[in-house]
Every structure is written in structure tokens, then in C-alpha cells.
Symmetry: C2
Subunit: 116 residues, 2 copies
Amino acid sequence: MPIELTASQALGLWHGAALDQVRHDDRDLTLRQMAILLHIYLVPPPHTVRGLAATLDVTKPVITRALDTMGEMGLVDRVRDDADRRNVIIKRTVGGALYLEKLGDLIRDQARRLPI
Amino acid sequence: MPIELTASQALGLWHGAALDQVRHDDRDLTLRQMAILLHIYLVPPPHTVRGLAATLDVTKPVITRALDTMGEMGLVDRVRDDADRRNVIIKRTVGGALYLEKLGDLIRDQARRLPI
DNA sequence: GGAAAATGGAACGCTAGCGTAACGATCTTC
DNA sequence: GAAGATCGTTACGCTAGCGTTCCATTTTCC
């Protein structure tokens, strides 16, 4: 039996988690960057620029820029693919894992706090 | 009994919802803007620039700019407070309500889809 | 009534994001 | 091995975001 949320619970969850995240973390990721980051960590590798662009339905430079920024933040890493040196493989980092671990905790806390 | 999510479910929910939202809506709100928008719609009014800035722990211009942008997008509206004409009261709009209704649906869909 | 406080916004210089178009490097194909 | 396709990135001109500082308006407090 799947998890059923009311509309109010769904938005309340999003609201609480977004609020907590804003309050406790300076890094103000856009929704796109967030989607990219989560995709890298939740979907089995390998991940490429091209693949991510297709998945999110955005252009390639959007991915390149997001990786630049999040790389600077220590959330992701890039490595050339030795099998096909045109490709870049996007790697996870300890920093990224920590970031998402905290985000996950925060969402779980909010879910626990939801009125039934 | 509160809603209990595993870490994987929490991030999976966020991932799926963020991805869907990115794919189907051009408006790429930052997490801050999202938090502001949800706060306006989920917490009883009145909402002021000052109050929102304190709530999110950001500076006033951040709120002003977010309201500029989201006002342009038709998600919120501003009205001078007649009782105290220094204040600006932030108003909800039909566009904003629709936006959040869609976001809520999308989160609920993702919740339903989560592996138990 | 006049000084002080409070509110939202504008100005400034800067960084980061955007889409489009082009690029060098690398693989594929014939 | 030359021609074409594919990959990620860079360049360009632009918009939107940032923090800090300052400002006009309005209210409060003696």
C-alpha cells in the first residue's frame, strides 16, 4: 500500500523542508541543480552531460554550468571517460553525500511532523 | 501515528518531484523563492517583507527581489497596507494558487509511486 | 511638533544563470 | 585516412541574483 498524502500534507512537507534548508544552508541551489544532484546520487551510474541534459530536458550548457557550480561547492566531481575520451563521467563526492544525507533527514523530520 | 519515511524514500520523493517540476515548467525558482512562495500560501496572512526576511533568515532585498520576480510571473501580488503605510502586504494570486496546486499534485504522485 | 525608529525599495558593483551558436577533441564510418 | 558525427565546453550578450549601503516615507515617542 503506497504512501498517500493529502494536498495540504504534500505542500506542507515541501514548505517545511525548503524552509529548514534555506535557514541552515547558504547554498541556494536552483530546482534544476537540485534535480541534477539528486539524479546523480539516486540513479545508478554512469552519468554524462548529454544524458543528464536529455533526462531533465534542458540544454547541455545548463548541465555544464550546474556541474561547475556544484563542483566548486564540493558536491560533485568530473572525470574523463577513458573508454571514450569525448565523454565526461560525473562522480559522487563525500561532500555531496553529506549534503543529501542532511536533506533527507530534514525531509523525514518534516514528514514526521505532518498533521495526520 | 505520524508519516514515517526512510532516508531513501525521502530523497526519492524529492528527486521525483524536482525532476517532474523541472521537466514541465520553465520557471526555475530557487529554493529561497520556493520557500517564500509556500510560506505566503500556507501560513495565515498578513505577510510583510520584514516578516518574511526574518522567517527565512535572509536580508530584506532578497525578499524584495523575489517578490519582483514572482510578481512578474504572476505568482504573488503586493499591496500597500492602509493601516500602516510603511508596510507592504503580500497577496496571493490565482496564478500562484494554480502553481502550488500543480506542485502538490506532483508531490502526491511521487509519494504514491514510492517503493514501500 | 520634532527627533528617533521602522519599513520597503533603489543603487552599486559583482557573480551566476540563461539560450544560442560556435569550438576543439575524439570517435565512427566508409 | 578523410569526412562526418558526437561529446563537453567556451564565447557572447543578456537577465536575475547577491550583500551592502543608503534613502524616502511613515509612524512612534517624548
